[in-house]
Amino acid sequence: MPILVYAESDQGIFKKITQELISFARAIADQMNTEVVAAVTQDPSNANLGQFGAHKVLNLEQPSLSEFNAELVAEALTQAARATGASTVIVSSSANSRYMAPLLVVALEAGYVPNVVGLPQSYTPLTVAHNVFTNKATAFTSLQSSISILGLSKNAYGVHHYDTNAEITKQEVTLSPSSVEVISLDKASNKVMIADAEVVVSAGRGLKGPENWGMIEELAEVMGAATACSKPVSDLGWRPHSEHVGQTGKPVSSNLYIAIGISGAIQHLAGINSSKVKVVINTDPEAPFFKAADYGIVGDAFEVVPDLIQKLKEFKAQNA
């Protein structure tokens, strides 16, 4: 009754979230005395997924799966789960996984808990801790189904290394045509994506105008970070909608979130709450964000940020 992992890849690259997922599955598999099977839809031969804990790799690759399609991936994973007799399927919190998972839930008649924040609390029944109330609380939920699907929160479990040699097997799946067709993709290909980023640099109305964003972009570049913004900034059109983070924008679960000139409205905090470390730079010592922050500087962004950029460059040079 192996643990099946939906080992996502993008353009043939198996990103950190997939590595975390496999490590997480391995820890569970070790407790349940079973194996991890990583199901992939793109060529796994160079990925060495065994090093993250996979025992086997199931290659579902075929032309209709070369681009992500939720319906087709769900159908392929359904067949893989049945073929392997999987008891548990592990998926990530990516947009694609969240799109696909509910379809898999119905096909497998599985119980599903997303936003899982750690290894199961118990195995009989399978009980997990997961974030609820937009990260303001934790729920402990037991699954009552014969197959369970767990959605792991980003950054909730690290990447662990194993010495496993994962055998790759090809699995043929029969897929019916999908009811949804992708016509085109608009991707900002050079920029770090908020969903993937370890560090997010975010700015708000305190920057006074879109013309002042140069230093934010420079700071992000020095840190290898994604850029983000508050809702008012997005509504004013100073920054693209895709940068809006918060309750009705994108969620942020990075290791480090730096908020510059953002007061910290509840809706903003709700969306960025699962970042590990929050830094606030604001001229107003009464800004609500300071109550939610781990570190802060009360000061003028137009002085602090250039200084931060400079000092970070020096720091990087020293630690190279």
Binding site: Y99, V106, V132, K136, T141, M193, Y295, I297, V304, L308
Partner: protein
Amino acid sequence: MKILVCISHVPDTTSKINFNADQTAFDTTGVQYVINPNDEFGLTRALWFKEKQGATIHVVNVGGPETEPTLRKALAIGADEAIRINQPATDGYSVAQALATVVQEGQYDLVIAGRESIDYNGGMVPGMVAKICGYAFVNTCISIEIDGTTVTAVREIDGGKENLKTTLPLVIGGQKGLVEESDLRIPNMRGIMQARTKPLHVKQTENSNTMSQTLRYEKPAPKQAVTLVENAEQLINLLHNEAKVI
């Protein structure tokens, strides 16, 4: 076109989150309930379809009598009829089964659900309803246009957007982008008056199988006070040596 908008009855964003004495349920004392934010965008978009192309709009909620004020608010905003499925919203699975029954009975062309509700953050109901009913499904939908039965939609993905083509009948997991925040319709006096007499049907379904049970809740440990520093150098030092994030 028949549109069904799924409405979740959720605590307002600013609510303090507390649980009852044995930590087994959310404490609703003093909590203001609202239409789930993601659902609001879908409801206004449905109204645009009604005004520009002609459509009837039904709204549906799974819950007890306490959710009726929220359904009345959706009627006041402009929906034509409301349906309350009389059962607790125990888990995503049972809610999706209940909604699917209404979808199938009503033969809706378009079902709009919020992609995620701010209380339990399951994000699973829209997709499950689609799969149970055999409808096409687009999640994180930030734009939708319908011409006959042909649909062009835009899905928000990590790092960009996907332009999609599909057909009715369709379920979408909606969010901001379907309309902008400034476009959201709010109830006016006339709407509120009319809402009182618009139909609100209460239904029972036979499906209330649950797949999961929440045993208890916990609030996070109280947060430590912020560490304020004076300059960038001190910040970098702490981020590197203490927080270990750079």
